[in-house]
C-alpha cells in the first residue's frame, strides 16, 4: 500500500538523512523506532505529504505523493491519512463535535453524523460532545484527536510519540486504543516512538539510526 524508495532529506542546516526503503501492506501495524533526532518526525512529515523530500518518492496506493500539486496533495492527505500528534492539538474555539466535523470540512468531504457519533462512542467520549478543549483532561484530548484522525476513514493512521508524556497505565491504554481502532477502521498504522514500553505491543519495526 505504501512504498518508500531511496528517500533522503537535506535539512536547511546541511545535515543529510537517508531513509532505508520501506513497504507497508494494507492494515499492517508498524513501529517506527529511533532515538530522538534520528529523523522520525521528518519521515512522518514526508509520508504525510507535509514536507517534500530532497530525493526519492513516496507511493501511497500507487499515487506518487510528490508528483501531485500542492492543492491535490492537501486533499489527498485529508482523505487518506489520519495524523495523531504527540500533543493533542484541537482547535480551541470549537467544541469536541465541531472539531470532529472540521476534519471532514477541511478535507472537502460531507459530514457523516452517524460515523462521528459511533466513533465517539467507541472511544468512550460521547458524553463530551459539547465540551471545549480547555475543559478536557489530557487523556480525553488524546481520545478526541484519535477520533478526529479516523473521521475520514483513512487508509493510514500515523501517530507521532503518542505515549511520551503518559504513565505506564495510560500509555498501555493508548497503544491498545490505536491498534484496535486502526484494525476496526481498516487502516494501516505507523507509531513513531522511542518509548520502550510500546515495543512489546507491535511486531513489525522499522529502525532509524
Amino acid at each position: 500500500m505504501i512504498k518508500l524508495s531511496s528517500l533522503a532529506h537535506v535539512y536547511d542546516q546541511g545535515r543529510r538523512l537517508k531513509f532505508p526503503c520501506w513497504e507497508i501492506g494494507d492494515m499492517e501495524q508498524w513501529l517506527l523506532l529511533g532515538a530522538s533526532g534520528s529523523g522520525k518526525s521528518t519521515l512522518l512529515y514526508i509520508i504525510s505529504g507535509l514536507l517534500k523530500p530532497s530525493q526519492g518518492e513516496v507511493l501511497i496506493n500507487g499515487t506518487d505523493l510528490y508528483s501531485l500539486s500542492a492543492l491535490e496533495r492537501d486533499k489527498f492527505r485529508g482523505r487518506h491519512i489520519g495524523i495523531i500528534f504527540q500533543r493533542p492539538h484541537l482547535i480551541r474555539s470549537l467544541d469536541v463535535l465541531d472539531n470532529l466535523e472540521l476534519a471532514a470540512v477541511m478535507a472537502g468531504l460531507p459530514i457523516d453524523h452517524e460515523r462521528n457519533r459511533s466513533l465517539l462512542a467507541d472511544l468512550g467520549i460521547d458524553g463530551l460532545v459539547k465540551k471545549y478543549p480547555d475543559q478536557l483532561s489530557q487523556g480525553q484530548l488524546q481520545r478526541v484527536s484519535v477520533a478526529r484522525a479516523l473521521v475520514n476513514k483513512p487508509d493510514l493512521l500515523i501517530a507521532d510519540e503518542p505515549t511520551s508524556s503518559l504513565d505506564d497505565e495510560n500509555a498501555f491504554q493508548v497503544i491498545k486504543m490505536l491498534t484496535t481502532q486502526a484494525k476496526d477502521n481498516g487502516a494501516a498504522l505507523i507509531i513513531a516512538t522511542h518509548d520502550a514500553r510500546v515495543r512489546d505491543h507491535l511486531t513489525k519495526t522499522y529502525l532509524l539510526r
Binding site: 521528518t42 492537501d74 485529508g78
Partner: protein, 404 residues
C-alpha cells in the same frame, strides 16, 4: 460546520477584541453616514425652497440673514422696506413675478406670513381643504401646521408678536382658518399664510399699556406702510447682472441671491463638515490598524490551529480565505451597526430640533450609502491581507514540532 462558523466561533472566543474592532468601525461609519445624510438633506431642502426664487429684496443688512429669514424662514428679518419702493420694483420690466412678504408674527412658533396670491403661484401651492385666504384676518395653514396645532377650518386663534414664543399676543384681532394646504415638502408646510392687510391690522391699533419706544417706532413704520421683503423671479437670466446692482446702488434696499448665499452658507458649514469627515476617516484608519494588529497578533497563536487544519487536508487558499473572512466579517458587522447608529442619531437630532423648517430625519436612505458598505468591506480586506498572507509562509512541520 463551515468556514463561516469557524470564523465566527473564533471571533466570539476573542470577544473583547472583536467588540473593540466592531465599535471602531461602527463609529467611523456612523459619523460618515450622519454627515452624508445631514448634508444631503440640508442641501435638498435649501435647493427645494429656493427653487424658483432668483432674488430677494429687503432692508439693508446681512444678505445671508435676509435669505434665511425670507426664503427659509429661519432667522430674523433684517428690517422693513417702504412698500412704495417695493411696488416700484415689482413693476420693473425685468421682473416676471414679485412676491411681497410681511413677517413679524407667529402662532406657537409657526410664522404668520402676510403675502398675496403670487406667493401660491411661486410655490405652486394647492388647497387640500377649504380655500385660500381672501379677506383680512383669514388664513390658510401649511399642512404640517394643521397637523401639529390641531387647528381646523373655521377655528380662530391669536397671533403673537415676534417670530418665536407667545409672549406678546395680539388679543384685539383673531385670525380665522379658511383652508389647509396640501403637503408641499418644502418650507410652506410650516407657514401660516394670510394677506398683508391682516399684518398691518394687527399692528396699527395699540393697547394703551404698550408704551415702550420700540413699539411706538414700529407703529410709525407700519403707518408708513412697510413690508419685510420681496421675492423676485426674473423675466430673463440676463437680469442677474443688472438687477441686483440696480437695487443695491439706486435704492435704499439690498438685493441678495439665494443661490449665492446658500453656497456661502455651505462653505461656512463646510469647514465643520470637513473636520468631522477627517475625524471619521481617522477613526476608520485606527479601526483598520486595530483589526490588522489583532489579527496579526492572533496569528502567532493561530499558527497552530492553521497548521492542524492544513494536516486535516485544508488548502492554503482555504485558510487564507478563512483569515480574510474574519477581518471582513468584523468590518461588515461594524459597517451595518454604524449605518444603524448614523440613522438613529440623525432621527434623534431631528426629534430634538427646535426649528421645524429644516427638520432632519434618519428614516431615509440614499443609494450612495452602498459606498459606505463597500468601504467597510474594503478596509476589512485591507487589514486582514497581511495576516492572511502569512498562511503561505507557515512551515507546518516546524510549527507542529514546537511546543505551544
Amino acid at each position: 460546520m463551515n468556514i463561516f462558523k469557524i470564523s465566527s466561533k473564533n471571533l466570539v472566543r476573542n470577544k473583547l477584541t472583536t467588540m473593540l474592532n466592531i465599535i471602531l468601525v461602527a463609529f467611523g461609519v456612523g459619523i460618515l453616514s450622519v454627515l452624508f445624510l445631514a448634508s444631503t438633506q440640508i442641501n435638498n431642502k435649501l435647493e427645494k425652497n429656493a427653487k424658483d426664487i432668483d432674488l430677494v429684496v429687503g432692508a439693508k443688512g446681512s444678505p445671508l440673514q435676509l435669505i434665511l429669514s425670507s426664503v427659509y424662514h429661519i432667522d430674523y428679518p433684517t428690517g422693513n422696506i417702504p412698500a412704495k419702493d417695493a411696488y416700484q420694483l415689482m413693476h420693473n420690466p425685468m421682473v416676471k413675478r414679485a412676491v411681497p412678504l410681511a413677517l413679524g408674527d407667529n402662532y406657537n412658533g409657526y410664522r404668520i406670513v402676510g403675502t398675496d396670491s403670487t406667493f401660491s403661484n411661486l410655490y405652486g401651492l394647492s388647497i387640500q381643504k377649504g380655500s385660500f385666504w381672501h379677506k383680512d384676518l383669514e388664513v390658510t395653514l401649511g399642512s404640517h401646521v394643521a397637523l401639529t396645532s390641531g387647528l381646523k377650518i373655521g377655528d380662530s386663534f391669536f397671533g403673537a408678536h415676534g417670530l418665536t414664543g407667545s409672549g406678546d399676543v395680539h388679543k384685539q384681532h383673531a385670525y380665522q382658518v379658511k383652508g389647509i394646504l396640501k403637503p408641499q415638502g418644502n418650507v410652506t408646510d410650516n407657514l401660516i399664510l394670510t394677506n398683508i392687510g391682516s399684518v398691518y391690522k394687527m399692528h396699527e391699533e395699540k393697547h394703551p399699556e404698550n408704551h415702550n419706544p420700540a413699539t411706538t417706532e414700529e407703529t410709525k413704520e407700519i403707518n408708513d406702510k412697510q413690508i419685510t421683503a420681496l421675492l423676485i423671479q426674473y423675466k430673463s437670466p440676463m437680469s442677474v447682472i443688472f438687477f441686483p446692482r440696480m437695487v443695491n446702488q439706486s435704492t435704499n434696499m439690498q438685493a441678495a441671491s439665494p443661490a449665492m448665499e446658500s453656497a456661502r452658507l455651505f462653505s461656512l458649514i463646510g469647514v465643520g463638515i470637513d473636520t468631522l469627515k477627517w475625524f471619521a476617516i481617522f477613526i476608520m484608519s485606527v479601526a483598520t490598524m486595530s483589526i490588522f494588529i489583532s489579527l496579526y497578533n492572533a496569528m502567532k497563536e493561530r499558527k497552530y490551529d492553521l497548521a492542524i487544519m492544513r494536516c486535516l487536508g485544508a488548502s492554503k487558499f482555504k485558510l487564507f480565505f478563512l483569515v480574510m473572512f474574519e477581518g471582513v466579517l468584523v468590518t461588515f458587522i461594524g459597517t451595518f451597526l454604524g449605518l444603524f447608529i448614523g440613522h438613529a442619531t440623525l432621527e434623534l437630532i431631528g426629534i430634538y430640533q427646535e426649528t421645524s423648517q429644516a427638520k432632519l430625519t434618519g428614516l431615509t436612505a440614499f443609494p450612495q450609502e452602498i459606498y459606505l458598505i463597500w468601504i467597510g468591506l474594503f478596509i476589512g480586506a485591507l487589514a486582514s491581507l497581511i495576516p492572511a498572507m502569512q498562511i503561505y509562509r507557515v512551515d507546518i512541520a516546524a510549527t507542529l514540532t514546537k511546543d505551544r
